[in-house]
Symmetry: C2
Subunit: 129 residues, 2 copies
């Protein structure tokens, strides 16, 4: 069965995004990439990554003296998990209010609105058949 809804902490998001962008990759590389953003030390990054392996979010493979990490969950899965969490808790599963809130909060450009509209149109079309 597929993973039953994935939830990531803030730090985990930070790590996994870096991993997605550089897969397969070793901890020192990730540490360096994130250093600007986070100022985490190697130890911190390493601990985080190892814990993520235990949780099944990453895999680790030893190659010589290096440990290569890979993501187990895809960006899409993680996104869905996060979105689903918000949907479930904040909106009791109701989609339209969620979209409403989205639109209310951020002011979108006319272009954005166009895009959204066409996304919906497309969806309507594909649903029909």
């Amino acid at each position: 069965m597929p993973k039953p809804s994935i939830e990531l902490t803030e730090s985990e998001w930070t790590i996994i995004k870096a991993v997605w962008g550089h897969e397969p990759c070793a901890a020192p590389a990730i540490q360096e990439i994130l250093h600007k953003q986070t100022a985490w030390t190697y130890s911190t990054v390493r601990t985080l990554m190892d814990r993520m392996v235990v949780k099944g979010l990453l895999t680790a493979e030893k190659v010589r003296n290096l440990t290569l990490y890979r993501s187990v969950v895809t960006r899409e899965q993680a996104q869905r998990g996060e979105l689903f969490y918000a949907l479930k808790h904040a909106f009791n599963g109701a989609l339209t209010p969620m979209v409403q809130c989205l639109l209310d909060t951020h002011d979108l450009s006319a272009g954005d609105l166009e895009t959204l509209e066409s996304i919906i149109k497309a969806r309507k079309k594909s649903a029909r058949k």
Copy 2:
């Protein structure tokens, strides 16, 4: 200044939803309301609520031997917080992909799509002027 982005844990969501529905209310009442759902004991509910007071999510007021709690954040604020969190972490702040994901994951009825479309239309109109 307004609260800088509110984030709630799962338990906090559970509590605050009950509070919103019964404000002002005492801990025993909330405990009872949630008992079916969560099987939490009075102590648990109480601890949770008191911690939420410390965090500024609720206020507590003593009346006789009763402590009445009230929400400090509105449902809308909390919803925005949650949504914003997802938007920021999972979608790097990009709104359209988020909506896309929403539509891809859940299959909406034709009616839902209609609703969404009209929400967007309305927004376009109000943005224009």
